[in-house]
Symmetry: D2
Subunit: 283 residues, 4 copies
């Protein structure tokens, strides 16, 4: 009799790279997704007995993504994710819950003579859009997000009045550079929406609120950004924000006989502050 | 009245790089840690009002790590983490829960003439040791782990009898290369132990079980590895294992008029299989 | 008498992270540079004798960058690099040649209500601008560049008529997806220019030529891009381009009973093609 | 007439991942290589005319590596690289020079009951072995190397007596932590050797010399390491070493009322010192 009991097991396929071209005459549209799939269900015998009859191979998950890109395609990550997650739950008896995560790389048309080119694109932009779709016994759940949204402000940001103890060396400031790499994820309470329009609005609200806020701390600004999204988008039930503090430290130029009136900063990679919170609509 | 309610907020400092030298005469001992700290507690006013009185600056967390490396040092990550986590909960009124994660880089003595050198080391070895210590209202919790333990076997591994559907292309095999990057985390039901000895034993058990197992799947091997740890180490309450499948695919050499009797493989970076499970001691 | 002779030695500082704020009233301008410095000169005694009198510490190079950001600042990387490189050659007797490399991260104003914000920025854009300035016995040399310019086209690209041997399996195609991450470096034959305007024009020329070219290979397109730059910008003496081929391979959907009319592609990380060339103005 | 002339063009394939199993009865031997190939030759028409007849597709280079892993295999990277480089120069008329770079990942047998296991391995060790073989009009050239050899010493290292100017803030020290990530490449003046034995000896000499040296600077230690290799291995004509300075800075504990007797250090990621040199046998 083995001493342990299997709990919380899941498996899947990560890093499926799908590039899709949709043609509207000479005008081409491209979608670039990295797809991760996780399944939960009745997989105990695979662990305990080495019996694989209930196991959908991860290679089949990969194949399903490519086949669905032709058969049941939607360029909206949320909609394509719903197709995939429902398929696994509905057609594989052992699967109780399927979670599909999709990250979309941004490609923009190359500007030629003032117009976006029909079939040439430039990419690599940050702030990529993400979606996570989960289908389980309680139905479907769609969470969208933005990753790698790098923002910075050089005014209207301070940090003071904090707790002081024997290990405090930080000085209070009412004028610092505030920089963070925003990751956002928000859960919808709907399963059909104009997903792209909504994601675009959330992005705009996050950026504008960051720019316009009088910040007493990253927590303070994070909270304002979350509230702005919930206030404007009734279809969003909750939003999670991660906003690590990328410290820009004032350089001491006194050894060189120079003043530094908030002009010259060193950017520190590590350590960095970490701040996370969820704001949920008050029901 | 804002539409959302703050939930699940936490903050801290990540990537604190500490290098410590302990001297025993001419014999030097080195510890190389990367420390992450997360706090939870009564921080709502910082978010809602921009009021920072309850906030311990993340810069102070950094300072505390360096001061404690001199004042309250232990080269065991678990013990040093307990000192830090308890300090934050016990001395900062707003802190309800503190979680300290420590990752130790491995440095080994350079071998000179058959002996380990007194003060020269070589590093960068994988399979680094980790510890996560959490102190909260319900007491303390110590979880240890190993990261980046890369293992591979070229015999006694197959995968067959799996679920087949319209998207299946994978062939069954009773002889494949099995490779995975093991991450393990195990929770102790004790707060004082010979932490290093136990971590070393877990590492040995994981490696030996991986080597000796007749594998029907990564799930099958993961389960055997977890059971081996629970069977041998009564102080461990549960173990979580992540073992992504780093596919080694047989190369088709037929276009070149050659056979490939399980000799030549291409290593795929993406996509890769993902397998995770927790085994908990049956109470 | 040691068996070897010292040759080709150099040293310096890498990864100096400088963030500079310039204020024009309420309107802030930001520059984000990563600076690398290399020195060559009369440093033999440091190697052979452990005699450091001729050695400018790399820590001093770091300090000089921050002091010059206040004392002798230019937001143009080429001009700031010239200040730094000349300083080391002119003031440190042992230095014969100084090379300064600067990579500028792109920050754009956050758009609020149709206007670029005064002091809030979004960053992380690819295609960052670089400059390498070398000052030595033969004078100064300025090379500018672009890094990480990711481009892709879904039409007007083929690859056929290539050399075939016993190890060929690639099929000819007159319609493929062509994707590459362009790195460009071009050498000026001037030491004073509107550096930003010129770099912007080179970027535009590279993008437009990539978009409009009927490509028979990446070599073919690289050459056209280089010629376009040399034709339009007389101040550029030569241009080096690196354009690795990021393969987008058509997925075989036949196992699923589906056609794939150039729609569904898998993006391969490795291996990837590599193509590099220099085009020099014919003198 | 285009303004530029093609110069210094080359192309190839990078990141070919080969895993090879050699069997000696139940005892398996594994080799894990990442191969990069560069060709130079008569490829001008591909650039200027889009004429590909002289171009060996990079996909064929990939296929050749896998076929040769079966047909003309050697587990020594230097020997396998010579087979590949000679093949391209000898069989493809347009190829004038072929350069093959091979990096070998280290896999060690898992220890089970004191013995190395027959077919189970653990990997990820740093200090991987590299080889670069070039075959051209002047014959063949074999360069071997080590990458990512991380070393550190906590005694017998200082830095003092350096050049001081207005931008100097660094203090002199006769006791610092010295850490560096050694990359080494050495050129042989032979085409047949016991390559593995020689690489192992170079590794040992580099480590021992680093450990035993009384270091006045990284330059000083680099030079001693290079001389030790040239003194012991007559088949090596020259050696290039890169030894970036991974700064371990003493933490100022005075704000916390503590001394720091060379015990507590912060490890800085950036900026870092860079030091490179070549030592060539005095002929």
């Amino acid at each position: 009799m083995p001493p342990g009991k299997l709990r919380d097991n899941r498996y899947g396929k990560s890093g499926i790279r799908l590039f899709k071209v949709d043609r509207e005459g000479a005008r081409h549209h491209v979608t670039d997704l990295t797809v991760d799939i996780w399944l939960e269900g009745a997989f105990e015998a695979a662990h305990t007995e080495g019996e694989n009859a209930a196991v959908l191979p991860t290679d089949t998950m990969r194949g399903t993504v490519y086949a669905f890109a032709r058969e049941r395609w939607s360029p909206e990550p949320e909609a394509f994710g719903l197709e995939l997650a429902r398929h696994f739950v509905e057609t594989v008896a052992s699967v109780e819950r399927a979670s599909v995560h999709l990250a979309a790389a941004a490609w923009e048309r190359i500007d030629v003579g003032g117009d976006g080119h029909d079939h040439a694109f430039t990419g690599g932009a940050p702030a990529r859009r993400t979606a996570t779709v989960t289908v389980g016994p309680d139905g479907a759940d769609v969470t969208a997000g933005l990753g790698d949204l790098l923002v910075l402000k050089t005014a209207r940001s301070g940090f003071s009045g904090f707790h002081v103890d024997a290990y405090t060396t930080l000085a209070e400031t009412d004028d610092r550079v505030l920089a963070t790499l925003v990751t956002a994820r928000w859960r919808y309470d709907a399963l059909a929406l104009d997903w792209s329009a909504c994601a675009g609005e959330v992005r705009r609200l996050l950026l504008e609120t960051f720019a316009e806020h009088d910040s007493e701390s990253l927590q303070h600004t994070l909270y304002a950004m979350g509230q702005a999204v919930l206030a404007a988008r009734g279809e969003i039930a909750e939003i999670w924000l991660s906003m690590p503090n990328q410290h820009h430290n004032l350089v001491d130029l006194q050894p060189y006989g120079l003043e530094n009136p908030n002009e010259v900063f060193v950017v520190a990679d590590r350590p960095f502050g970490v701040i996370e919170a969820t704001l949920a609509r008050d029901a």
